[in-house]
Symmetry: C2
Subunit: 361 residues, 2 copies
């Protein structure tokens, strides 16, 4: 019997999505290539240059450097690694807001740096005063998040960049999820807005590419130099990636998605996703739940644990914030119909059929 | 214009290959899944358990633990990380033979451990006396290679395991490339042959799965415990992988390849590849080149740099050992016809058309 992957029609928890058809087609075509070996697979290496050029265009980066990583975790680890190598101290510390992704804890563990976690303010963004009082001469890196995993918030990026500069630290922006929707908002988040050194921006999240296609960008080529390891028996001279063999499918898929969707396709998707998030937030609020307003297409609400468990038992793929709130990510595959069906299930569970559910996406 | 990946018909340098048709089909089907998020994608998580069980069967591991990694580099980094975490010293060292893959240098750099590189003997295998005199109380890990990248040699695994045990160090076997052919040889290389703690064995190399499908195996589940990082907002409790989001395509593809090919398909492929390697070695020897005998399907020979460059200019994807020898990896896509055509090009270049080229695969 052939095992099938489950469909996406009940997935509300993932920051990945169904790849765009063009992205899927490119991934399938480049399945048997390895950008980790440019001497053997030059075509996919050329495609990777194109991917980085397009990511540069998205993020206001004039001479983009970087590579397509396995995902945001690798990109974040590499940003911390760059900062550690460039720091002039043997006891470097890294500052992240508590809204930072858990991959920074993994990075700190792997790389042996001291992770200093600072609180967020009442808007769920990095508390600038807390960051200011936390940095010191041993600070190698300050991290800002542009689209947090739990609430989709964007930290005050220009201000964080100034704080990093004030102590001669590097500045990294984690836009792994947010990077492909933020160009259509008023947020200040990218290389053009602040003195950003490195950035994580994942085509395989809101970029609608196939996994694995994370993105690590750097202000300039020389930022990546500290990562280079010599590569005998490859007809290239060095390798700056964390992994060795890499997926050509991810690279080709990222290029195909961006060629098709940037900018209008992404703009239209952002508008749809954001409207869906607002619809869901409204529906949840009407039912009496405390809702964290979706400033990007991500909704959190204080649905009780028993209700959460019952929704999961009905097949909904949902997840929670660290403080236990229901968390729904309005990815491209999440339609208004799905959300209406989700709310209908919630109503049945809570036996509150009084509020009508509409479906008009 | 649609960019196409180059064909495999001139690729002699890669340790990856065209995926088996069943592996390709499974990869395409599971392209939009993420085993890094088991709460959302439970089907691919079940497939990953199956992949590890099958890798256990291949490697004499009764209660297999591990996961499908992005590739051998990640698996090797993780093995070094496990050893560092378990070592009772703050200045751990790791012993590798000079034939070890460059990913161990990357691991040492990332993880801040002292890498001690010991020479190989006249058979290109780890020199046991050198290893014995190099280990000490700070040794966290001894590495043996089962199928070296340059010459396809298998280190004396049981003896290396004993040396590791004598200083209470962990023992890792890098069988990234060799693991899928060694079951059909007389070599002693796996968990059943020695006190191996961790192993790298990559389905996307000789296992004929699609990239990215590396393999990290561990003697038991508890070996992986030191890698675990808490995972808020995923409905699973912790994550032992180096990357976060991972490719379900790689996982599904590894299972499909092993279900189809283990053991008879792999045995037949090994016999074909080994015969091809011996044919090539013989052809090169007849032409007066010094050849390193292929004990596994990998041939090295001292072809001059100018000839090497001319062959690359003719489109052959070939690479060199650290000392400059031509290196040809007889992967499943490498046919006798390809090798005959390669030798014919070599003859034309060297203007030595006197030795007849036969093609009888």
């Amino acid at each position: 019997m052939q095992i099938e992957p489950q469909a996406f029609d009940r997935v509300l928890s993932s920051m990945c999505t169904e790849p765009h058809p063009d992205a899927r087609e490119a991934a399938e075509r480049f399945l048997a290539t390895n950008p980790g070996d440019p001497g053997t697979y030059p075509t996919v290496t050329a495609l990777e240059d194109e991917a980085i050029a397009m990511l540069g265009e998205l993020t206001g980066l004039e001479e983009p450097a970087g590579y397509i990583a396995s995902g945001g975790t690798e990109a974040n680890i590499q940003a911390v690694r760059i900062a550690r190598e460039r720091a002039e101290t043997r006891t470097p510390n890294v500052i992240i807001p508590e809204s930072g992704h858990f991959s920074f804890r993994k990075a700190a563990d792997v790389l042996g740096v001291d992770l200093r976690i600072v609180p967020t303010d009442e808007t769920y963004r990095a508390d600038l005063e807390a960051v200011r009082s936390c940095v010191d001469e041993q600070t190698a890196l300050v991290v800002g998040v542009a689209g947090t995993t739990e609430y989709g918030r964007v930290d005050p990026i220009p201000e964080l960049g100034e704080i990093a500069e004030s102590v001669d630290a590097m500045f990294h922006v984690d836009a792994a999820w947010g990077g492909f929707v933020l160009p259509f908002t008023d947020d200040e988040w990218h290389f053009g807005h602040a003195a950003v050194d490195t950035m994580t921006i994942d085509p395989h999240k809101m970029g609608q590419a196939a996994v694995p296609a994370g993105g690590l960008l750097a202000r300039s080529d020389d930022v990546l130099d500290v990562l280079a390891v010599d590569t005998p028996y490859l007809e290239s001279t060095s390798q700056a990636t964390l992994t060795g063999t890499r997926s050509g499918a991810g690279v080709a898929s990222a290029v195909a998605a961006m060629e098709t969707l940037w900018p209008e396709g992404y703009r239209n998707q952002y508008v749809r996703s954001q409207r869906n998030a607002e619809w869901l937030a409204d529906a949840l609020e009407k039912r009496g739940y405390d809702v964290v307003e979706p400033t990007l297409p991500l909704v959190a609400a204080d649905v009780p644990q028993s209700t959460f468990d019952a929704l999961r038992a009905k097949g909904w793929r949902i997840s929670r914030t660290a403080t236990g709130e229901l968390r729904v990510v309005c990815m491209p595959h999440v339609t208004r119909e799905m959300l209406a069906s989700f709310i209908a299930d919630l109503d049945r569970l809570e036996m509150r059929a009084s509020v009508p559910v509409t479906s008009d996406d």
